[in-house]
């Protein structure tokens, strides 16, 4: 119970807020990993730009997974009516929240850039059919592993297995909170 519970739920808005909050928490977790002095020697922490890029990459990934679920569980007409514009609302709200002190024109430019980056991410993620490696097979070209590589690169720790694995675990945990399946059921 608390103040946030005294607002009547719009399940769509609620879900997009969850994507945003989880992405912030995930990026903060990566930041804490980067600040761990027992492991980090050459580079400590994340710059603000690295942190911001990581937040949005998590947002894009969750939006991609939501769209993939929608594709599998809704017909084309349902998707067109119920899912159009979801990514724009989510990304726009995220920019407004994180960059609230920025001038309006810079915020608008950032939103436009983020939308472009989102489409690039969508194309990249859609190359990988398998979410995880099958038993006895390698992780290369599986969705979550390749996503982990993106995060590691954005954190300036390209190809670090530690960062890749941590990103995969972080995303897997956040997906439990997001419960994409329930959202798609509710929106249908």
């Amino acid at each position: 119970m608390g103040w946030f519970d005294t607002f009547k739920k719009d399940f769509r808005e609620d879900y997009l807020n969850k994507i945003f909050r989880n992405s912030i928490e995930d990026a903060n977790a990566i930041r804490r990993l980067a600040e761990d002095k027992s492991f980090e020697q050459d580079k400590q922490g994340l710059s603000d730009t690295e942190w911001l890029s990581i937040v949005f990459e998590f947002i894009y990934f969750y939006l991609y997974l939501t769209d993939r679920f929608a594709f599998e569980h809704m017909n084309e007409e349902e998707r067109a009516v119920k899912m159009t514009g979801v990514e724009k609302i989510c990304i726009s709200s995220a920019v407004n929240a994180i960059c609230h002190e920025w001038p309006e024109d810079l915020k608008e430019k950032t939103k436009k850039k983020c939308m472009e980056n989102y489409y690039v991410s969508m194309q990249e993620h859609s190359k990988y059919k398998k979410w995880f490696a099958e038993k006895g097979k390698g992780t290369k070209n599986t969705l979550f592993w390749e996503f982990g590589k993106v995060i590691a690169k954005l954190a300036g720790r390209e190809m670090s297995t530690r960062y890749i694995m941590f990103s995969v675990i972080t995303v897997t945990n956040s997906l439990k909170d997001l419960d994409i399946k329930s959202f798609i059921e509710e929106v249908k």
């Binding site: 119970m1 103040w3 607002f7």
Partner: protein, 163 residues
């Protein structure tokens, strides 16, 4: 309503010559109010209720502004910036209640005060909310203004914190 009597300068609040708290809207608050009124451009209202609608809408805009500040404080990692955002929220919601007396604004003020760490002040405000909410008989305009709010949930929450 003066949220922190004399102990803190909240955005837009000041004391007049007699020592009473008065306020002006900050630039940001004014912008929020103007943006909200843009939504009513072209509408005509019965003169009998026009004043209430104007006050209610102004208060509604200020409460939305306050909500946005709290939302931003939740993701702000720097303590000083977080406190400033909460101060803005507290100031805005206090002004909202001064302009249009919806008890839910007292509840919001109590919550923001609690978030700012002023537990004793918050407790008194929760009690004040419960007292006022009990006697409150909402009109049509009131119901429009708090349509998005779950008042029963607010009462439940306030009861646990008013002790």
């Amino acid at each position: 309503m003066a949220p922190f009597r004399g102990k803190r300068d909240l955005p837009g609040f000041r004391k007049d010559k007699e020592g009473n708290f008065v306020f002006d809207l900050t630039e940001e608050e004014q912008q929020e109010v103007e943006d909200t009124f843009k939504g009513f451009e072209g509408y005509k209202f019965n003169p009998a209720v026009a004043d209430d609608i104007k006050k209610g809408t102004t208060a509604f805009a200020l409460s939305n502004y306050a909500t946005a500040q709290v939302g931003m404080s939740e993701i702000e990692s720097q303590k000083e910036k977080r406190e400033k955002l909460l101060e803005k929220a507290i100031a805005a919601i206090a002004k909202a209640y001064s302009i249009y007396q919806l008890p839910i604004y007292i509840y919001d003020l109590a919550c923001f005060t609690e978030m700012a760490g002023r537990i004793d002040v918050a407790r008194n405000l929760f009690r004040e909310f419960l007292k006022k909410q009990l006697k409150f008989k909402p009109g049509q305009i009131d119901e429009l203004l708090f349509k998005q709010r779950d008042i029963d949930e607010a009462i439940k929450d306030a009861k646990t914190k008013a002790i």
